[in-house]
């Protein structure tokens, strides 16, 4: 069965609420059950993303629940929990975070990364647009499209991530690992507190020290794990 056939079948039970994204052979649809009135997210990939198979057996408050991961003839389809809320990017439209609020969000992302890193998965695309806060204050890290397993021996062959949040190693210098995500967390924290990239304006005081360490050019100078970063926070 191909991805299009699967989607055609699922449309018998679900109506299409919204096309969330369609780029780089990755389509994300928001579907609504015609009878139960409940929504879910369908991600269609042209390649296999192993991270989703790992997350099938995981239940973490700060990651969306992965309902199913289906391997098809021409790629993979993932059914995922729909989280309704505002992204951190949208929240920041109305102002910058204070330290306490930023720590809460970063802490939640660290919790999600603990789970991912524990399964040897690097997210590689941590940014305000990929973090959502629902009406109950639940913070969720979304979008594993750029993720990959650390254990893969080959060097990153494709530059993944978002400009500004991508660490030097993501831009082709060395292999991505957990400290890649820590770099992005440092940039994220700085942007949440100052509105600017650390290279333009760095946060003051203790926050600034944490950001500097996270965003060190040399991965060996950064926090070596999210737990270490959490302790610092």
């Amino acid at each position: 069965m191909t991805r299009n056939e699967y989607i055609k079948n699922i449309r018998k039970l679900y109506s299409l609420s919204k096309l969330l994204s369609d780029k780089n052979d990755c389509t994300v649809l928001l579907l609504k059950h015609k009878t139960l009135d409940k929504k879910l997210v369908l991600r269609s990939f042209g390649e296999k993303i192993a991270a989703y198979d790992e997350l099938l057996s995981v239940n973490c408050e700060n990651l969306p629940l992965i309902y199913d991961s289906i391997t098809l003839d021409d790629g993979q389809i993932v059914l995922e929990e729909y989280i309704e809320g505002l992204t951190v990017d949208e929240i920041m439209q109305s102002g910058r975070y204070r330290f306490k609020g930023a720590v809460r969000v970063i802490g939640a992302v660290c919790n999600a990364l603990c789970v991912l890193h524990g399964s040897d998965i690097v997210h590689r695309d941590i940014k305000p647009q990929n973090i959502i806060v629902d009406k109950n204050g639940r913070v969720v890290l979304l979008d594993l499209n750029a993720s990959r397993r650390i254990s893969d021996a080959s060097k990153d062959t494709v530059i993944m991530g978002t400009v500004g949040y991508a660490s030097p190693e993501q831009l082709g210098v060395t292999q991505s690992d957990k400290r890649t995500d820590i770099y992005a967390l440092g940039v994220l924290m700085n942007v949440m507190l100052t509105g600017e990239h650390p290279s333009v304006k760095i946060a003051k005081g203790r926050s600034g020290r944490i950001v500097r360490k996270c965003t060190s050019i040399n991965p060996k100078d950064r926090y070596q794990s999210v737990k270490e970063l959490l302790n610092a926070l």
């Binding site: 099938l56 629940l65 289906i70």
Partner: protein, 243 residues
Amino acid sequence: MKKCPFCNAVLTDEANFCLYCMTSLDRKQKTTVIEIKKRKALPIILIFTVILLISVFSFIIITDDNKENTDTPKQTSSEKEDSRNDRAVYPEVSYIYRAAVIGDDYSSAYLPDENDIIITGVETADITGIYYIPDHIDGKRVLGIDPLAFSDESIRDSVIKVILADGIKNIRENAFASCINMSDIYFMGESIHITADAFSRERNGILKIHCSESCDDRNFRLYKNSAQMYDAVYEYWDGGVVS
């Protein structure tokens, strides 16, 4: 191919999720059920006083129950065991409910333990319209159903029948107040307290209350004269499958 254990839909062997009833088939994928709201524990002296009062009232009730009731035929011990064996075995459905640890506003008459929980909401609508509420979720005792637990817009109209497990002690006010399509409620236990206004005042039909033959009005503190209960009818239920 395999069948969904909840809605019997035919699924592929590799499926981890039922698209028909939107249920995860992998038990490890239980959604967050318990919202832990820690509250203060009751003082020990108060608990002792309550235990004493309960003992006194229980003695009075037991003494009353020993009187012969010629109207209701009694089962022999072997018949009772047979009817228990016939009782339906319901699937584990803990995933569809939200629950919270009971607070100190909960009546001490039910001898609550600090880890007991109450149903505060419903996560997933059941497409069959039949809701089984177990007396234990994740090892914690379910004491009762909180106000407005079944009032979510996405849930209330779907509620047709409700089955309450043996250990559930209390249905609080407005628990089912929005469930206008609810037609039947089944009690597996023999003693439960139903607060006034627990059910909808406006219903599409009569509410049938099904209970075992060993229940009677003295155990069921139902507000029979209340506006929602005046049109309720009682039916004997042997605990068999509800469909």
